[in-house]
Subunit: 240 residues, 2 copies
């Protein structure tokens, strides 16, 4: 976890440190005044301002300013960084293919350049995901309703894969769509599409649809009744 930092570096020192660090697989951070231009899926420009720029060896680029969770400009991994000196200014261009897009940062003032040798990281362990909710239902199908029997997960329909396919107490096919959080109309539309596709394809007269979610908005509930679908309240985090 070596750290190298240059305070108020001249452009040559900065360029060299960034180039060599990225080559070595280290993360770089640059603090200074810069303009940012993006051209790709859209186009955008950012006037001169003070920002914290982070470059990662995998091609990731992050431009952060004083506030906000999301970077004001960025590049996802997969691309390449290029450092050039033009008219005495440090330019950082990050390019990517598929989609073809680029971010160009021009620094007019460099306050600090650092490089961090960070080791590979482990994965995050998360509980409370939609998948956990699905597992909970598979282990305890009566949470959906009395007599429900799961038969298949990710069953394909022409409208997409169904979370849980099963049958109810009467043997009627049931499609279950799970959401880990409060749902709006989009989730109802998703379930409705699956049910409609299943009724066309499963050669069964009727297919029921059940939406599993901790809560539901009014508008979604209206959509739900219009499509003759059902909602069951269930939380992804198992209550003790």
């Amino acid at each position: 976890m070596g750290v190298t930092t240059r305070s108020r570096p001249d452009v040559h020192t900065a360029a060299e440190l960034i180039d060599e660090s990225l080559d070595a697989g280290h993360v770089c951070s640059i603090v200074g005044r810069c303009t940012v231009a993006y051209d790709g899926r859209t186009q955008s420009t950012l006037p001169a301002g003070e920002r914290l720029v982070v470059c990662k060896p995998d091609g990731t680029l992050l431009v952060h300013h004083a506030a906000g969770h999301k970077p004001v400009n960025w590049q996802p991994p997969g691309g390449t960084h290029d450092i050039t000196l033009i008219d005495g200014e440090l330019h950082l261009q990050s390019r990517r293919d598929a989609p073809d897009e680029r971010v160009e940062i021009r620094f007019t003032d460099l306050r600090q350049v650092s490089a961090y040798a960070l080791e590979e990281d482990h994965d995050r362990d998360v509980t409370g995901s939609e998948d956990d909710l699905r597992q909970r239902i598979l282990e305890q199908p009566t949470l959906v309703e009395e007599g429900f029997q799961p038969r298949m997960t990710e069953r394909e329909t022409s409208a997409g894969p169904v979370d849980i396919y099963g049958v109810d107490a009467n043997g009627t096919p049931v499609i279950v769509e799970c959401k880990r959080r409060r749902v709006g109309p989009d989730a109802v539309g998703q379930l409705a599409r699956y049910v409609a596709a299943a009724e066309r394809e499963y050669t069964t007269k009727t297919v029921r649809g059940i939406l599993i979610a901790p809560s539901i908005t009014d508008r979604a509930e209206r959509e739900l009744t219009q499509h003759e679908l059902k909602w069951v309240a269930l939380d992804p985090i198992h209550s003790v």
Copy 2:
């Protein structure tokens, strides 16, 4: 744009710098070995590893590792940061209400702590958004089809607000849904919901629905024909 950096600081120096900097409205970055625990909308833990942590005075917290665009853990703005020293370790806890969630970072090794006084930033100027596409249609309605006349934007239905409401050459109501990029089944479902709601509410026998997008997936196109909807190819970036 003052910058303060401490290399391999002891925990007291680090805590003081972070506390005072955040109070002063500065952005902090911490590089070191740490564990991270999140509890809120889900729960997650991250084993000890080397990371770059960024705290902003607005409550934003970002935990980055050597790769990837998204932080491995984070906190959106609105919360508060709390620095404590426990058993000689630096702990950073970030709490937020609505939703109630917290991230706790425990540093076992501090390599660098920095503070950056970044001035307020301007907004980004973007072209090629969905709104640009909508504007383009309003200025040139025949791009949708010959005889189309826009009447209203964001018109409300019980299913949600309609991008553009208008009438076709025959005076039949038309609902136009704009997407800035290639669309999948979800967009068709959205349009279908609007059309169905409009047919219930506008007291008109028929309402047509037109999806505007640069391209469309096969499955979405199938859904489209099933709902008797139409697709018109149009790009958000005005081709010269």
